[in-house]
Amino acid sequence: MTDTPTMKRVREGLKRRYRSEKRFQSFGILAIVLALGFLVFLLANVFVQGMSAFRTTEIAVQVYFDPMVIDPGGTREREALSKANYRGLVRKSLRDIFPDVKDRQDKRRLYKLLSTGAGFNLRKEVLDNPGLIGKTLTVWMVASDDVDMAFKNNASFDKNVKSQGINAKQSAWLRDLKASGQIRSVFNKTFFLSGDSREPELAGIGGAVMGSLLSLAVTLAISFPLGAMTAVYLEEFAPKNRWTEIIEVNINNLASVPSIIFGLLGLSVFLNVFNMNRSSPMVGGLVLALMTLPTVIIAGRAALKSVPPSIREAALSVGASPLQAVFHHVLPLSMPGMLTGAIIGMARALGETAPLLMIGMVAFIVDVPKGFADPATALPVQIFLWADSPERAFEEKTAAAIVILLAFLICMNLIAVIMRKKFERKW
């Protein structure tokens, strides 16, 4: 091979060019690693923070169900039983464990070991089973959030952790309880079943999950039929004219309108014009339905497009009307694709927060909603509310609620993926 001067220059430059080639490629890999690293960091961060919220701390207390306190009249009427001073019972039982606590302030600190919900639990137990009155029983009661946090971080209570709302005396009591096996960590059922509460140890996502499910039911019931029908019309029947074009442009633009704008729409139309119930899953579901409609329509059109024209032609050729061809043959074939789109739209709706803030689903609601018109909140809104709360114990609740939300989303997306894999047909 003869080296012309040009070839020489090329060969000299090659090394540099290959180096820059390598560099460029590694930048690409770096970018991907960075993006995936963010993802892993985000998810790991949430999981690590949230896992501890699935357990809660309980303290065993000997309770004497004193008839004089619970039912002084001896009538055993529900009314009387439910009005008794159960908090006093709880406090007395605590004092019995530590008889040498005399100082008023110390007593108050002692009471703070247990959640304020302990009294309610006692009441429920007595109402369910009035035969308890007069007996002495060991009852496991929910500890307060400070104790819960301290027990999770430092199970032997040996460090003096004053900063977490537990002072030295309380630590000592907790050490005693621990030594006598009167403190334990159990699965946190409250977290899954109950509604919101100001007390972190009593707060749960039950109400929020119910609210989300109710809203999603409304969303699905509205956006799937409407979306599918719109998709069928636009894809199969719409004439190519101005009006159709306007509809199509409209749908594409709606898909990129910020979600908070839909919230404003819901506030001024559904709440102020139609006077619907504020904070209700009905309104939330309607707003989310309008928001997910474009997604469902676009997915539906793609699904219809993937059905080959030969199916339609075959149906028409044996005498089916155009509507029959579509509803009997094309639509069933495109159903998996449409459902996949709907599920993905629902997943988006489930994670959406901003529009729900606008229509008042951000209120503090303790009860688990039972119907579409009840005031409710939604899972992502609950996360937002808890993330704003100053109590440290809410931080793990927030992360745990996120874990639940992500679990729902993963399930929905998995179903969508599996459906696509299973029913996808190559024509």
Partner: protein, 460 residues
């Protein structure tokens, strides 16, 4: 309770209508189905439509009008001392009556007169429920009999049914347009009320935002200034930071995926990246507020910088992570749309792969990439939860990313959560901000879609 029973009965009647219509059609030709003009099922649908559709319209009308009519009757019968109330007081009163009728807590002292009104309200509601039941059921039965009677072998049921279905299809396709009209009208309507109180020039060019309005004239600390510029700059600052994160990462990963990665790597990594877009924004908000912001702040303390705990940097960086997949998938599409011939031409001349990408593919795909970036910007501007949770509330006119700024969406949320009165400029300003947000994102989207479309046409 009554209404759900009625609803159930109506559904049952509609189903019954289907079977009655079909069997009538079949029996009218005594089983010789060839004699029928349409398939027997169509006769069933025909009767079902007559049974169900008018009733559904009636129900819709009823539910939208009932509260108003009851309210009007109540107001006209109101005791003397409630006369001459303003609209707001009247609203409150009616709210209390609702609550009283449902045994809820009311905001005022309950007396016998009010109690009587509440009882009257409950009675009216009851009457209305019964009237609705009678009206809908008789209408359904009338429809059923009419439909049933018009069935003859020669009757063209299929034409009728198909026309109704077609009408339903067309009606549903207009919902999207109606939604847009609803958005525009509701935003415009409230914004006009706002601009009657605050001049548009003050809103668009004012440099100070402090929407607390004075309730009493002597109140201090409530200036009621509605200059949107600090919000706009705050929004742009955070979006800019987000793009500084998302653009390089998204673009480089798109280039790698489109040009270097083998199909298996692509198939594995692309969905993983898309997860970033699927994570709810409230999760990012939590992450930004409780992890990233303290991290930045701690880092700032270590190197002697004062970074606010609600810095634009933290909110922007996390938002950037969120929009990486938008940028990468749009750029990926644009890069893959560049024809193979251009690649081969460049490589045939001896260029390395990276040289081809940088000098040939990137410039060719640039319009598509810019379109994608614009879409990402519009998404960043409209993003709400991350900034609500991680950015500040006070409007600072600053370009310093270490300080706290606020955004349009943050202000909308803070103005509209909690109690609202719909005649104060403070509440209405949220709608003006919403209009601004809508217009800005719409313009960005239209430009972006135009660019992307033009670019596609070039290579198709």
């Amino acid at each position: 309770m009554l209404s759900s029973t009625v609803f159930f009965v109506l559904v049952l009647l509609t189903f019954a209508g289907f079977y009655m219509g079909r069997s009538k059609a079949v029996s009218s030709v005594s089983g010789e189905l060839r004699e029928l003009q349409s398939l027997p099922g169509y006769y069933g649908y025909y009767v079902a439509i007559w049974c169900g559709l008018p009733v559904m319209l009636l129900l819709g009308l009823w539910f939208s009008l009932e509260p108003r009519i009851i309210e009007m009757i109540l107001i006209s019968e109101m005791p003397e001392r409630f006369a001459g109330l303003s609209d707001i007081q009247l609203n409150l009163l009616i709210n209390d009556i609702h609550n009283l009728a449902q045994n809820n807590i009311t905001s005022r002292q309950v007396d016998a007169e009010l109690m009587a009104v509440a009882e009257r309200y409950a009675a009216l509601k009851q009457t209305s429920a019964w009237a609705m039941m009678v009206a809908t059921l008789s209408m359904a039965i009338a429809g059923l009999t009419y439909g049933q009677r018009s069935i003859t072998p020669a009757f063209k049921a299929s034409n009728f049914v198909e026309k109704v279905i077609m009408a339903a299809l067309i009606a549903s396709s207009t919902i999207a347009v109606l939604t847009t009209i609803g958005i525009v009208l509701s935003l415009l309507f409230e914004s006009i009320r706002f601009f009657n109180m605050v001049s548009p020039a003050d809103f668009l060019f004012g440099l100070e935002w402090s929407p607390q309005t004075a309730l009493r004239p002597d109140q201090v600390g409530s200036s009621g200034l509605f200059g949107a510029i600090p919000l706009l700059t705050g929004t742009l600052l955070i979006s800019f930071i987000a793009m500084m994160v998302a653009a390089p990462v998204g673009l480089l990963s798109a280039m790698f995926m489109a040009e270097y990665a083998n199909p298996r790597f692509r198939a594995a990594v692309k969905p993983l990246l898309e997860i970033l877009a699927g994570v709810p924004t409230v999760v990012y908000g939590f992450f930004a507020a409780l992890t990233v912001a303290p991290l930045f702040r701690g880092f700032g303390v270590n190197i002697g910088l004062d970074i606010s705990s609600e810095s634009a940097l933290a909110a922007g960086a996390v938002m950037g992570i969120m929009i990486i997949p938008f940028v990468s998938s749009m750029s990926d599409d644009a890069i893959r749309a560049v024809p193979l011939a251009m690649r081969e031409g460049s490589m045939g001349l001896g260029a390395t792969k990276s040289e081809t990408i940088k000098r040939v593919i990137f410039p060719a795909a640039l319009p598509g990439i810019i379109g994608g970036l614009l879409l990402a910007v519009s998404r960043a501007i409209g993003e709400t939860m991350i900034v609500v949770m991680a950015a500040g509330l006070s409007a600072n006119l600053t370009a310093n990313p270490l300080e706290a700024v606020t955004t349009i969406t943050v202000q909308i949320v803070s103005l509209l959560t909690g109690d609202q009165e719909f005649d104060s400029p403070k509440t209405l300003s949220a709608f003006a901000l919403g209009l601004l947000l809508f217009v800005v994102t719409l313009i960005l989207n239209i430009i972006a879609l135009k660019i992307v479309k033009k670019f596609r046409e070039k290579y198709d």
